[in-house]
Subunit: 379 residues, 2 copies
Amino acid sequence: MTGIPFILRFREFSFFGYLDGNAKRNQPTVPMRQLFVLILIIVLSTAAISCNDSEIQDVQNQFPPLEYAIAIHGGAGVMSRDMPAETREAYIRSLTEALTIGRDLLAEGASSLDAIESVIRFMEDDPLFNAGHGAVLTNTGTAELDASVMDGRDLSAGAIAGVKTVKNPISLARHVMENSRHVLFAGEGAEHYADQAGVERVENSYFITDNRRRQLERAIERDEVSLDHSGGSATGYFPESANDRFGTVGVVALDRDGNLAAGTSTGGMTNKRFGRVGDSPIIGAGTYADNRTCAISSTGTGEEFIRNAVAYQISAIMEFTGASLHEAASIVVHEKLKEGDGGIIGVGSDGSIAMVFNTPGMYRGAANSEGLFDVKIWD
Amino acid sequence: MTGIPFILRFREFSFFGYLDGNAKRNQPTVPMRQLFVLILIIVLSTAAISCNDSEIQDVQNQFPPLEYAIAIHGGAGVMSRDMPAETREAYIRSLTEALTIGRDLLAEGASSLDAIESVIRFMEDDPLFNAGHGAVLTNTGTAELDASVMDGRDLSAGAIAGVKTVKNPISLARHVMENSRHVLFAGEGAEHYADQAGVERVENSYFITDNRRRQLERAIERDEVSLDHSGGSATGYFPESANDRFGTVGVVALDRDGNLAAGTSTGGMTNKRFGRVGDSPIIGAGTYADNRTCAISSTGTGEEFIRNAVAYQISAIMEFTGASLHEAASIVVHEKLKEGDGGIIGVGSDGSIAMVFNTPGMYRGAANSEGLFDVKIWD
């Protein structure tokens, strides 16, 4: 249903532009009343869509295009409103600091790639977020980290999966993008690549916090991994606490040169099976950037984001139907994904920002050259 | 340019259907001549697109929908027409046998998943193809195998990357899809998963043929991997022989129940870096299937297929613009990818078949319930 008005809106220019031309009285004609009804249908359909959008639209599209814009996320999930005030304040404080880093860099004229890398490094280093230091643990008690980055100028991309000793996975992903002809390295191969790339290395224990170790112990006590291969029970696999499930960080940005970039970094799921790869290192699922459309970073149940090629699908809807970033993101998050799967942040080539999720909350923030600066957890 | 006629064609029904309504003489009107010009533009654009398509269309869309259809590929590349007659005949013979297995299964009412798994297992076991036995070797002289499979009924998917001891990677990918809540396992984790899945295991030496070992020795002599991280030279990374680059096998099928499935299996690139993951295990890049649109399997320069989300992009163009399978595949292979990148095979939900590539050749075959049975290497 919602697809139709996008197409019609996309075609308004040529269609109406043409029919407005000068008419000669003696030409054969078609009835104006019928055309009027057709136009009315288009206008009403468009209005109906716009109405739906306003419910979930965090930031309206801006015209003319903004000089720069940035959005960040620190994961989507249940995030009970009863969380202790100090926890909430810690998240708000950290998100505010992260967003400030990115906003200031972009204001000074930094590239979107530099901005997203700097912000993600900050979030990786912060134990509050499930990426880098403070990542959740696999069922063998180790941290295995995934990250990906994409450059909207030329669709170049880099990603790594399952690294155990790279302090800032996002920087290794960027190294893969800029210095290798490959896109994705996994496991031992990614470590081997890191040896040659000269990025900062740490012991695996660097990533592990007491908090995450207790989370894993609780998950193992509840046997939350034993049914992983059975496929039989919805309770068998996912950690009980939805807060544990969706930790990921991501940043998308538009810089003063009009270039988009997106990056995502994660420690995956608590008690995840050894070797499982989620959507964060998958270009098209967890991360996508194309200067012609948008930059997207996803967070949620990685498998659903892979099956639906979520990050790329939003770009594709914009490219092939002329939909706005927000319309495209809403279709994918609210119609293609299931309730509770997660969310996305996006920046369009015009500087519009979308932060759309189907979970109760998403740690997030957005800023732009018009003075917007907003950090939120819930609706 | 080519996007426009699809949209217009997609909208023809409601637009022209409406304007054909009864007109009253005394209503205000718009000039018929201008409408006629608009219609003419649409018709000519559509005709132009159809013309382009015919050059590359292997099999026309069929109406009414076919009972079953299948397409297979054994990799795309340069494939010199000077290849020895016995080599050419060996490929034709093997492709014919593979296609017969799939066609017969579908004719007997087998599911598309069973058909693609059986055919890919046959091709994995055949040393002619770069998958399973006869896979190309990494720069450490081992075989590392990737595979993925997707079920068009519900978008469920399974994939494995970098396995070294699983005789038929496609069957492990299917096991992941049907018995795990995850989509992708990589490296040691995939081996660990295989331990529990009970699939047939072999020593890594099983995969290695004398032919592939000689290929690797030649590649190492030519130092074809040393510049992998430099990004400086186009000759530094890829094996000299384009035949070595694009080995992959894939099968797509529509069964009598109207269900689509796609699968892909590969040994990757000769002398590829340890741990590099290409597009074959990436759902959306190497493999995609959605009953509403099509089933796709890719073969080529994996990195380009990941950046362009090739398999999913074809499905997205069909879904969002109403383009045919062949139109969508042609846009992606001939306009989005670069000459020489590779190709795709696809089956649409109506049983239409597309085999589109931008290399001189692609080992391929197609069969359907109308009696089509065709095996080809070049145009």
